[in-house]
Symmetry: C2
Subunit: 146 residues, 2 copies
């Protein structure tokens, strides 16, 4: 069942804009910010607006079709919600990779402080090959907010 069908099934309307945004978000290793989604969507539909991008991704997040990933104070949208996974973020450029770590973490009852647990987010931090290389060659690069 496609993402657009799920919108329809929930009484949401499928418009040309939403179709374009769904296409931009289609893929396995996609982690775009709202602004990046807008830029890519505009290649196909120049008059699309940022408000529509937010409206649409928020609807997709509400449907559980897309997962928001908070990375350095910016939200990126990850359509890979089928398989549980974590994220590896480049501290310099903010690029995100999906990763499947070994081992697992559990929170002992005594550590839960009465909280009812519903999930966990794991973010590995590091430097991507391109940024690590630039760093080794002495170039400062734009530093990303932890």
């Amino acid at each position: 069942m496609s993402l657009l069908d799920r919108l329809r099934g929930r009484g949401r309307r499928v418009t040309a804009q939403r179709r374009v945004i769904a296409e931009v978000l289609d893929g396995k290793h996609v982690h775009l910010t709202a602004d990046e989604i807008l830029r890519r969507a505009r290649r196909r539909m120049p008059e699309i607006s940022l408000a529509t991008v937010y409206n649409t991704v928020n609807a997709l997040v509400a449907l559980g079709e897309v997962q928001p990933v908070d990375v350095g104070g910016r939200v990126r949208y990850d359509p890979n919600v089928g398989a549980a996974h974590h994220h590896l973020v480049c501290l310099t450029c903010g690029t995100v990779r999906d990763v499947y770590p070994r081992g697992r973490l559990s929170l002992p009852k005594g550590e839960r402080g009465g909280y009812r647990l519903v999930g966990q987010d794991v973010v590995f931090k590091g430097y991507c090959p391109r940024c690590a290389g630039a760093q080794a060659r002495g170039r400062p690069g734009h530093t990303w907010r932890p």
Copy 2:
């Protein structure tokens, strides 16, 4: 060696404002936003400004004395940097607890995609006793951004 001594040792100046902010941040389970730090600091020094709070916490973060914790699009400042720990966040009110999970995660080399790893952030998500109670009693409550 106190936090203020460390500022001094790095050629940074210790002012009355910084002393007040350091006192506000003193403690074991402190996870305050910039705004909360400002409000508490103003109880002792009403003329202190938000810019000074940011200036000071940024200096403390640069010294490694305080750890920024990005929680739902807001930064909270955690002075507990001595012991490695993770965080448990309430999805309704944003309250943060330090936690010490069992087990560990490692990222197999094949999963690293050439990134040089430098750390990881783990955030457990759940509902604190107060918010879980309100939820069970049918009160909606303000929902916090994932």
